[in-house]
């Protein structure tokens, strides 16, 4: 169970409910251990994969003798391999994640989602790693399966403070190269950057066959822009201030935001990135459950160990 330092990040009751679900990879993974996820290689699970002709050097234990008896030919019976999952949780810790409204702080929501997902992954025997990136530097914890490592992840999340400009684009490209083996990459960010560049990063990750998911965190205030009096907007990342009457620019703001969301969602569909827009006033547990269930449907169901 979580320690006192992690109580703000983990909700035992919610985790107990979420633990009935598994977080399934949508594509075959290349793990080092036996696990819940399909492997990119053939293995020895009980799930039949295909027949192929015998080639010299093959292990004759896998020859299907019944087929040989009927056809007088050697066919090798192959089975799916089950492997474990390596997950990189990329948490945006730039200053824009510190946006706070009456619905709460965006970074707190990101931390809560990342911590809960890490707990779920470790609980199902997968390896979870953490990358906290932002203007204040990058914290990297490589994927491990051990509960002790989970404690390190939670400690790092609890200690993180959003600051500085965003390094989202660099981080996506760096980790696309750095995580050489297929992995589940989950991004928790407000994605407030140029959409084409963000999509470049996603494409780079997908090029290396990573299973990419995005939790796009936005506040209702940002989405609806419901101000009724003149406001002074101070940029969280130090890009200056704007004094304006929101009523004057509301329509243009919403139009720009709609274009941005539409192009981001479209790019994610194009590059097969699992995209979820999470509002700050939404239930984070429901968001995680939806994330897991969607993966179950996409992966054809999970096998309990």
């Amino acid at each position: 169970m979580p320690s006192d330092a992690h109580r703000g990040l983990l909700d035992p009751a919610a985790l107990a409910r979420l633990s009935r679900l598994t977080v399934q990879a949508r594509s075959p993974m290349l793990g080092t251990m036996t696990g819940l996820h399909r492997s990119a290689t053939r293995g020895s699970s009980v799930e039949f994969a295909e027949y192929r002709k015998y080639a010299p050097g093959d292990d004759i234990r896998h020859v299907d003798w019944r087929v040989y008896a009927r056809t007088d030919r050697f066919y090798m019976k192959e089975f799916e391999a089950d492997t474990n999952l390596r997950a990189w949780l990329l948490v945006d810790a730039s200053a824009s994640m510190a946006f706070t409204s009456r619905h709460g702080c965006r970074f707190d929501q990101a931390r809560r989602l990342a911590a809960s997902l890490a707990w779920l992954l470790v609980q199902q025997g997968d390896a979870a790693g953490l990358v906290l990136f932002g203007g204040g530097g990058t914290v990297e914890l490589p994927p491990r399966r051990s509960p002790a490592h989970l404690g390190l992840i939670l400690d790092a999340l609890a200690a993180a403070r959003p600051s500085g400009g965003t390094t989202l684009l660099d981080t996506l490209h760096v980790w696309a190269e750095k995580a050489r083996r297929r992995a589940l990459v989950v991004l928790f960010s407000d994605c407030l950057a140029d959409v084409p560049h963000v999509l470049d990063g996603f494409q780079h990750l997908r090029f290396h066959r990573h299973d990419v998911s995005v939790f796009h965190l936005l506040d209702p205030l940002e989405l609806e822009f419901g101000f009724d009096r003149p406001m002074r907007f101070d940029d969280l990342e130090g890009a200056g201030e704007i004094v304006t009457d929101p009523a004057t620019i509301a329509a243009d703001y919403r139009a720009a935001l709609d274009r941005y969301l539409a192009s981001l969602a479209h790019g994610c569909r194009e590059f097969d990135v699992d995209y979820q827009l999470v509002r700050a006033d939404a239930d984070w547990e429901a968001a995680l459950a939806a994330f897991a269930l969607k993966r179950l449907r996409a992966g054809g169901g999970a096998r309990r160990p």
Partner: protein, 655 residues
Amino acid sequence: MTFLQPELLWGLLAAPLPILIHLLNRLRYRRIAWAATAFLAAATRSSSRRSRLRHWLVLACRFAALTAWLLLLVRPLLGGWFGATLAGAPDLVVIALDRSASMEAAVGDGDRSRREFALELLAGAPREGKWRSTRYLLLDSATMRSRPVGDLAGLARMDDVGPTDTAADIPALLLAAAETLARERPGRAEIWLASDLQASSWAPEAVRWREAVAALAALPQDLAVRVLSLAGPSAGNRSVRLREARRMAGAGRARLEIAVEFRHNDTRAAAPVPVVWNALGARAQFEMTLDGPMATALRALDWPEGADQFWGAVELPPDSNPADNRAYFAAAMPSQVRAVLAVEDPECLRRLRLALDPLRDGRVEIIGAPPARLARALATPAAFVGIQAGELPDEAAAALEQAVRDGAVALVLPPPTAVAGSGGVEDAPGEPWRPGLWEEDAGPLARALDGRSLPLDRLEVFRRALPAADPTEREPLAMFSDGRPLLSARADGRGRRYDLSTLPRPDWSTLGDGWVWVPMIQRMLEEGSRRLGEAAMGLCGRWTDDRPGASWETIEGLPSAVPGLRAGLFRSGRRLLALNRPPEEDDLGYLEPARVEVLMRPLRVRVAGDLGRAGPEEGVRGELWPLLATLAMLALLAESALLAGEYAPGRGGRA
């Protein structure tokens, strides 16, 4: 453009309030730490002209709506074609009804009186269509009181629209209408004046006309006057009027001498007219032949033995105007009256004493009082006060004013120290001045009982001192041939003040010879003593009871709980009252419609025999409020539409 509520124009200062609030709000911004600044910057950069335009349009709409509402409160009026388009039916119609005795004359050969016909025409005025929302107020010449007319069709059934024996004062009636309109403040108004255009009621020469027309012209709202003219021949009318009834006590039995004036407009051959003389209820009929349009009859009735009061009436048979067929008289045994003389000039004082008590029978108690003691002398009611113009002590002036208001007659003579060339005193240049015109029908210079005029034409004036006060306040009773007043009068309360321009001294005039002086002073004394006697004669509409609340019973004439508007004989305890219609009601002169229009210039007035043709429509000014209300509504609707685009539904709440 004029305004009905100009004092509210200050409210227009509040019109820029939306802009001020907008600017203040811009200064009073709220801070927020924001992440999605990129979209904000893009939106601010690309904040389209349309968006800014819409914002300013919203402000303009609010400004327009507020301005329109404020202007609506100010109630502007607009002229020209636009005003005429907006005008529609008047908001308020003041029905001014002439209820004078002459309005009881029949219309043509019918049975309806002019007043009844006028009410019938007024009741048939349009009440539907654009006239639906019009309010009506009735104002009548007898009571000068305005009251709302609930149902125009029932106008004839309202109180105070019945016949009276009063005279009408049309300028005063219009002045009252102006006051009513100023009080009611309608948008567009009309005055419907129903009158027979009798010259004596309209008094075209009266100074009051200027005041009335100016008051009406000064009204801010659009005003039209429709004069419903009921003038026309009323053939076969005869009238009787009591000129004077005086108790004459000679060596033998006392008698009541009654002078009666008959008039008729019957152009047919003169026929004997049965005249009924009613004395203390005993009726005696005599026939009288009216040779000319006017005739005077003098009759002496024996004063009943032992009676201290005598009353009666002279009656003519019914004709086209039943209101002028009776004249009532009342008289009582004379009682001693007081006359106070504050005249310092011994010659004038002597002649006043002689004129006041020519027979020296002690009926008149003459008190000589210097101005300083005038107040004390007037502590006891006096019928006549003679003074010489000049500075009076405040106390004496106040006492004199009060005495006149209470019914006394004051004769003001030129100051005793007046010398030529000072204080308006002038000597005749060569030939003495002579009176040119004087009032012979009533007043102190009226004809004698036998119909003969006073010999004013023989009067010569060598020196005169014209009153310093504004002569327009006074009614001239006699004027010199150069138009300057010889004798003028001013009513004040129940009494009257007479100003004489010369003195009864040989160096001033021949007035002291007595031919004019004695009857003039005697009539003034009689006028002032009327309130003191037990028998009084008054004129309908002008008589006021000095004991309000007294209970009266009708002896002759139509029963009336409170005497005032109808002629008749009334009794209250020992008091006897004979009320007759004012003499000017027998005037047969009528104004021409063109004269009425000239008289009421620059008002928009039309005179016609029916309301439909008496409607001036050109130059109408209309009230702008319907247009302003529409404008305000449109501005608010436009603002709503613009804001609806800005805060589209489905976008959620506010921060």
